[in-house]
Symmetry: C2
């Protein structure tokens, strides 16, 4: 299969490209290298020594004998080039990772809010419009986030994208009044995003729903949990293939922050009470999920296929305890820079991938290896001043007050 990987130089896109290439697919990467430019803007860099995209591709050729294509296209800006690419390369599927993906970065300033909305919305809409204009039957697989659901669910498991609801009706199908009666329907799960970044993924959902309905595009949207782990069976084959590991306050996810802090003997900093529950999935399982999604496309005319791409949930303070146990680090509670509920439950349906054969790597098996093979190994490259999260969610906080805690999510809470 010919597969285009948009955002294929990034943390998820690069290992996905190698995995699919290893499976024998003909893979071409599209990326504008904006993530590397953001490293420069933030004065941060990957803990792991990632190579240039050219060096990466050359190393993969050497190691595997397989050739990856690469095109530097800003998909949010260079529509004509993107369209031309789709027509010329004629991919069977496009995997769309090419968005600004950090919540704290999206909240840093007005500029960062606007960049994130502009980049992500135009990237997705350009891609959709280009697929329609190309006239080709391309399966679009997009990386969404569990964060569109809003984090808390008390009372029910989060379903895979769609929710059964009942409403009270009091008319018949011709609009004549009747006794009140219940009618039920399946709707897109009501969204409750916690940052501008997460909100752009909500906007994406509505773009997808429209193009699936109007243009019969075949679209799969993967509502992904937080990725952990750095290596896959492919990236581990040569140090020049190494994947990025972000540990800075903007791009480093909570788990990476803890791993880094453990590796350098710093207390693990838990935001607020640490009662936030989050969904996780290992990088290795992510690449398998992408493969499974590719192998199970929707049909033309179907609604958007939504999978929850996560394998386990943990409270942040429990994660900290787990890593403290493994590494001997201590735990420290610090004020929460985000506006969010202090404590939340999170139960998620993830049957589709499990039924289709995914065998999850669990945190309890993989964490120790991660501390040793990544965090300790490259600890001397770390700039410790970059670890704290400095983005604040509200003007209130900029004025030195704590954020009022966020309300509970839309449907269930």
């Amino acid at each position: 299969m010919k597969v285009a990987i948009l955002g294929g130089d990034g943390f998820c896109g690069w290992p996905a490209a190698l995995h699919l290439s290893d499976q024998g697919h003909d893979v071409v990467i599209v990326d504008n290298l904006s993530r590397r430019a953001i490293d420069a803007e933030l004065g941060a860099q990957s803990l792991t020594p990632i190579r240039s995209i050219d060096e990466r591709i050359a190393a993969w050729k050497e190691v595997s004998g397989r050739q990856l294509g690469f095109e530097n296209i800003d998909i949010a800006r260079d529509y004509e080039v993107l369209l031309d690419f789709l027509i010329r390369e004629a991919p069977d599927a496009v995997i769309h990772f090419a968005e600004q993906r950090a919540a704290p970065y999206s909240m840093k300033s007005s500029w960062h809010k606007r960049y994130t909305v502009d980049n992500n919305t135009n990237a997705t809409n350009n891609l959709l419009a280009a697929i329609v204009e190309s006239g080709r039957d391309i399966h679009l697989v997009h990386l969404g986030t569990m964060g569109v659901y809003g984090y808390g669910t008390a009372g029910m498991k989060i379903p895979e994208g769609y929710l059964d609801v009942e409403v009270t009706a009091d008319e018949d199908e011709h609009g004549n009044p009747t006794e009140p009666h219940r009618i039920s329907q399946e709707i897109l799960y009501p969204s409750n995003p916690g940052s501008i970044y997460h909100m752009t993924k909500v906007l994406d959902q509505h773009l997808f729903a429209f193009y699936a309905k109007n243009d019969s595009l075949r679209i799969t949207d993967l509502h992904q949990g937080i990725i952990w782990g750095t290596h896959t069976d492919q990236t581990i084959r040569d140090e020049r293939l190494i994947n990025r590991f972000d540990y800075d306050g903007d791009y480093g996810t909570v788990l990476n922050r803890f791993l880094m802090q453990a590796a350098v003997g710093h207390p693990l900093t838990v935001h607020g009470t640490g009662g936030q529950t989050r969904a996780f999935i290992h990088l290795r399982d992510m690449v398998r999920c992408i493969q499974i999604a590719l192998e199970n496309p929707p049909s033309s005319g179907d609604r958007v296929k939504i999978f929850n791409q996560m394998t386990e949930t943990h409270r942040v303070r429990d994660l900290a305890r787990l890593i403290a146990e493994i590494s001997g680090a201590t735990v420290e509670m610090v004020p929460n820079p985000r506006k969010e509920s202090a404590e939340n439950e999170l139960h998620v349906v993830n049957e589709t991938f499990l039924k289709l054969g995914l065998k999850p790597t669990t945190l309890s098996e993989g964490l120790l290896q991660e501390v040793e093979e990544t965090a300790r190994r490259y600890a001397d490259r770390a700039d410790l001043s970059k670890i704290p999260a400095r983005s604040l969610w509200t003007e209130q906080q900029h004025a030195g007050e704590p954020a009022t805690p966020a309300d509970e999510p839309a449907v269930v809470g």
Copy 2:
């Protein structure tokens, strides 16, 4: 009150500016005049002889003694200028009309889809980010559309923005399994937009929900029906104040098309079966609604206040019949360029405005006047070749096949 009217040179914005100025408010218009540029692009023009914004403002000064401010700002592009404007002018309220508002125009080509998404999403997000950055407590009133609901409702009236639903829960608040039980919640009404234009209004809704929640912005979103009528008590005072009347295939709404066709003795062209039901409101009532919305702002911390701004619903074929009766025109059925349900019911809750004192002008009273005072009066300015709708919704139609009818709307259908 100091009021900024974004899009104040447009069909709704101009009469709203005059009405609020007449009420004694200090009004300043912001507009990039893109709508006039689109007239040039389409080779179309307003049936009524609208004057330049400078001439309009000078005429209003002469007629009323009141000064309107004007600034040419592209709010989707010139963020810093917009921010500076908000800080300098310090409006109490901003009325946001400044978007590309025609469904057929938004579907004309890939470029038009992308322009509409880019312009409307960045316009709204820039405005929201600028209000936050300005640090000022500004009430934002936005013009949304009934079209976010999707057009069909069999079984229930469309509520004002939020819908009561019940879902089945099987956990207690700590996530422990329980017997299945029902829990109810109010959610944003599930959207089902029928064009790229309508979809941008769905995206707007999610932007508003986020900023209301995260930044406690005070936001009112008016889900407006199709406006009819051309004159208000203010625009009628001098021909130089005359409002625009669009009758071309892209911007002319169904009613204006019929009025024009009646005025020039052309058969009234009904798309499909004419079974589509639409919501309407007279221009005069629209300006009153804006005033009422201004006088009844939400409080900081409230969710987005949503009003349905419409006063009556009609099936398209019934409208055609009504105008045929008044004018003696004949009715002709033509293929539908849109992808939509052939027939739909539409029942809408519009209590808020009625309770707050709106006295609707009904179609049956006002239509005849409209035929005479606008359509017949200026009929010699019409370019009849511009009347047919030429935008097609799908590639299927471009290839000469009819669009498969759209599915029924999300919640109720």
